[in-house]
């Protein structure tokens, strides 16, 4: 027996490497998403080369910014074992009130400060979520359902219900400020706006926090098993406040970008899209029960949905099919993750 054990000890890691695909998917579920994404892109590109035009790609890039920021926030909260459905309300509240404030009180405020203001507003609202979750000790789904109502209610009751059609000039300018410009076949000049940069930057930051700071590890620890994490000395409160505050910040940021790009602030906007964002994150391989997932996966999930939404027409599939396709992908991914779910 003295022989057998040590072998077995060293065995198992190899063991799980031997049976590679399964364990690979288990370790890096985002590969499934990537695979699906690549297949789609190739298929579409073959069916209609127009897909590879910069214009399409830039459209996709532009369209993924807001959803991407939301998704990063949701992912961080999922990683810590919570869930959030209030982020759209946070975005709506901050974007609308910031726009209003700037318009009425500080029309000259430099755009950077405007963005900062919105982000801070988001942090405040997010921290409220975090406090409630931490104090009430009820599932964050309930808390954020409650705050979704609260934040939206506050917006419509106290701040305003009228669309702001002519947003402050600096915001409008920010929404169009070009990062890249292309001249297309039909002499159209298409531009990749500067605000596109916000997404990769936010993704990098999130990745760095999660993988290179104690907070990051603490988030996953709490997501893995809150009681054990607490026993090992991680402070649940700190983690709760951070993840919800951080998600709030991203939501505020997303909101202000949404306004700047839309050139109108509609207080009824955004709310109702929570499920799509959560779907994107799940497609990215994060487990809804927390403790898993990756930033890159989240971004892939978002891209997948955005691409599906924008390319179907290119291959002549009516846009009403979008949901059908996305739905099947979600279930497909779920099926792929089964073995992983089983061991959970």
């Amino acid at each position: 027996m003295s022989v057998s054990r040590p072998e077995e000890l060293r065995e198992s890691p190899q063991g799980s490497r031997a049976f590679s695909l399964g364990s690979l998917i288990r370790r890096r579920p985002e590969l499934v998403t990537l695979a699906i994404l690549i297949v789609i892109c190739i298929a579409v590109a073959v069916a209609n080369p127009a897909f590879l035009q910069p214009s399409t790609l830039i459209d996709i890039g532009r369209a993924s910014v807001v959803m991407g920021l939301f998704a990063l926030g949701v992912f961080v909260i999922l990683a810590a074992g919570g869930i959030d459905v209030s982020f759209t309300a946070i975005a709506a509240l901050t974007m609308y009130s910031t726009t209003l404030l700037v318009q009425n009180y500080a029309p000259e405020l430099p755009i950077l400060l405007v963005i900062l203001a919105a982000t801070l507003g988001g942090v405040v609202l997010g921290v409220i979520n975090g406090l409630l979750v931490n104090i009430l000790r009820v599932p964050s789904l309930i808390v954020t359902i409650g705050t979704q109502y609260l934040f939206r209610g506050a917006l419509l009751s106290f701040i305003g219900t009228v669309w702001i059609m002519s947003i402050p000039t600096q915001m409008g300018a920010f929404g169009r400020m070009p990062l890249l410009q292309f001249e297309t076949a039909n002499r159209a000049v298409i531009t990749l706006p500067v605000y596109f940069l916000v997404l990769p930057v936010a993704a990098l930051l999130t990745w760095w926090i999660l993988n290179h700071t104690l907070m990051g590890r603490a988030i996953f620890a709490v997501g893995g098993n809150a009681d054990v994490a607490q026993r090992l000395g991680y402070s649940l409160r700190t983690v709760h406040l951070f993840v919800f505050g951080y998600a709030g910040a991203l939501a505020g940021l997303a909101g202000i970008i949404h306004v700047s790009a839309n050139r109108l602030a509609n207080p009824f906007d955004l709310v109702g899209t929570e499920i799509n964002v959560i779907a994107a994150v799940v497609l990215g391989g994060a487990r809804i029960t927390g403790g898993t997932g990756s930033v890159i996966g989240t971004i892939l999930g978002v891209l997948l949905i955005v691409v599906v939404n924008s390319v179907l027409v290119l291959v002549g599939i009516p846009s009403t099919w979008q949901r059908l396709v996305v739905g099947s992908f979600i279930l497909l991914a779920a099926a792929f993750f089964v073995m992983r779910g089983r061991r959970a």
């Binding site: 027996m1 003295s2 022989v3 057998s4 054990r5 040590p6 077995e8 000890l9 060293r10 198992s12 890691p13 799980s16 490497r17 364990s23 370790r27 993988n211 290179h212 700071t213 104690l214 907070m215 990051g216 590890r217 603490a218 996953f220 620890a221 997501g223 893995g224 098993n225 054990v228 994490a229 607490q230 026993r231 090992l232 000395g233 991680y234 402070s235 700190t238 983690v239 951070f242 403790g291 898993t292 061991r343």
Partner: protein
């Protein structure tokens, strides 16, 4: 026994005075006094549920005591936080291992070090290099591989034995002053235990105090040091191991020294009720052939890794056996699911009533009738409520529950009463054979008595009972025969009337070839 004070030396590291802890109904610790010195080894001994884990959780800041004082490095606290305990150098290997399943081995082993050095503040960079370095050292010490691949393995992918070692590695990874291990060897083999023992020796040589919780007495003797004996939440003895014989220790633990009176008075019937032939399940157990007569109480014991638990689960259909046959009332019966077992007339009382047995926040009534709803409902599946209430009332009566309010959530009952509910439930089904898996685990003496009397009454009524437990006095007092499992096989049979704990312990501990080895050999 000697009072803790006398044990005091200059290098007294941790002192606990008059510690009390209650969990709802359960008075887990009732005035514990304890003192630990650096460089010493201590063995916390006691029956299941006597408070060992609880006292440990208090030392490590996982629980706050209701009363009492903790003096740590001369500073006095009314309770500790995990960070306080950790930064004072108290490292714990919890009974449930307390690993983070979704993190890597390296992180599980070495993150705490960085967390502690940052005083629990999280706004800090993570030092990956140092993480791997620390982890590798610790893993080497406990005899696990320390290559990058293993460091990067996610803990939930590891087999149990390796997880236990990882938990131990975490404890020795930092500059600990006191390392606590709560039943660290339950799923380790002899060889890993030897390795562990050398680790302990090394720690002691580095002037680290080690506190062991274990049910395996002769491991204590191999390690040496002091014995700390608990009984029902009190520290009944503390002193050098050499000062005690095994028998004395078990007497101190059970408190039955003077009156080890047998509850078993009746005699088994002659008719065979239940039998297995050559039952086996992979490497867990094999070749199990046993038989139980009507009205007989059969005990099975063995170490936690002896396969006794797997055998119980197999008979209950939770984890069915792969080979061999089961006979009930002379008819071969296939049991693949719990439902099969229930229909075959086998009642099962699981070991961990919390995770496997009870709906903690459901009412007593709901829990009692959960199993028998089928009998209580007509063909259309419509329930007869009053019948349910009547039955539940009767079961509560039979099991002498301490409350008549059957609407109380079971979670609000004391451990002992929870266990009575559990046993009562399986009786509702009027089983032919009742399998009791650790019937008094974490149950206090008062409840034990009730449960034992109930067991005997059932046997006298002609029911066959199979008790699987590592609580030896329990078996000796309640059974007709006791079978000992070791390395997945039945290795000995005793007549409970004549046998004693030493003999049983010997049979449990004498090393045998493990099935897995044979398989590898063949």
């Amino acid at each position: 026994m000697q009072a803790p004070e006398n044990a005091g030396g200059a290098s007294r590291f941790l002192v606990m005075r008059n510690i009390h802890k209650r969990f709802g109904g359960v008075h887990a610790l009732r005035g514990v006094d304890l003192s630990l010195e650096l460089g010493e080894a201590y063995h916390l001994l006691g029956e299941n549920g006597c408070g060992k884990s609880t006292v440990i959780k208090i030392m490590s800041g996982a629980h706050a005591p209701d009363e009492g004082e903790i003096v740590l490095d001369g500073k006095s606290y009314s309770s500790l936080t995990p960070i306080q305990a950790l930064s004072a150098g108290i490292e714990t290997v919890y009974q449930d291992l307390s690993l983070l399943p979704n993190l890597t081995v390296a992180e599980n082993v070495a993150l705490s070090e960085q967390l502690v050095s940052s005083k629990g503040r999280l706004a800090r960079m993570l030092n990956g290099a140092r993480l791997r370095e620390t982890a590798a050292k610790a893993l080497d010490m406990v005899g696990l591989p320390s290559d990058r691949a293993f460091l990067a393995t996610v803990v939930s992918d590891l087999p149990l034995a390796q997880r236990q070692l990882v938990a131990i590695a975490r404890a020795v990874a930092t500059r600990a002053k006191l390392v606590i291990m709560d039943e660290p060897t339950t799923s380790l083999t002899r060889r890993e235990v030897d390795n562990l023992i050398s680790v302990v020796a090394r720690l002691r040589s580095e002037n680290v105090a080690v506190l062991f919780v274990t049910h395996k007495l002769d491991e204590c003797y191999r390690i040496g040091g002091n014995a700390v004996v608990f009984r029902d939440g009190e520290c009944v003895a503390q002193g050098p191991l050499e000062g005690f014989t095994k028998r004395q220790l078990s007497e101190l633990m059970t408190g039955h020294a003077i009156d080890s009176e047998r509850y078993r008075t009746g005699r088994p019937g002659t008719e065979e009720l239940f039998s297995t032939s050559d039952l086996g399940a992979g490497s867990a157990f094999r070749g199990i052939t046993l038989s139980i007569r009507k009205g007989e109480v059969l005990g099975i014991t063995g170490l936690a890794d002896s396969g006794r638990n797997e055998l119980a689960l197999a008979i209950a259909g939770v984890a069915p056996a792969r080979t061999g046959t089961l006979r009930i009332d002379g008819t071969d019966t296939a049991i693949h699911t719990p439902a099969d077992a229930i229909h075959a007339g086998i009642g099962y009382v699981p070991e961990d009533r919390l995770a496997e047995g009870l709906f903690l926040d459901k009412s007593i009534l709901d829990n009692e009738i959960a199993l028998v709803v089928r009998q209580l409902s007509n063909s259309a599946g419509v329930l007869d409520k009053t019948a349910g209430a009547r039955l539940a009332g009767k079961l509560a009566e039979d099991m002498r529950l301490n409350t008549r309010d059957l609407d109380l959530p079971v979670g609000s009952l004391s451990g002992g009463n929870q266990q009575r509910v559990l046993i009562g439930r399986s009786l509702g089904n009027a089983p032919k054979l009742l399998v009791l898996h650790g019937p008094t685990v974490g149950v206090d003496v008062g409840s034990k008595d009730t449960i034992y009397r109930a067991i005997q009454k059932l046997a006298d009524g002609g029911m066959g009972l199979l008790i699987i437990s590592d609580d030896l006095p329990e078996l000796l007092q309640n059974c007709d025969r006791i079978l000992v499992m070791n390395g997945g096989r039945l290795v000995a049979e005793f007549n409970a009337e004549t046998a004693d704990e030493d003999a049983l312990y010997q049979a449990m501990l004498t090393p045998t070839a493990r099935i897995s080895d044979e398989r590898i050999a063949s």
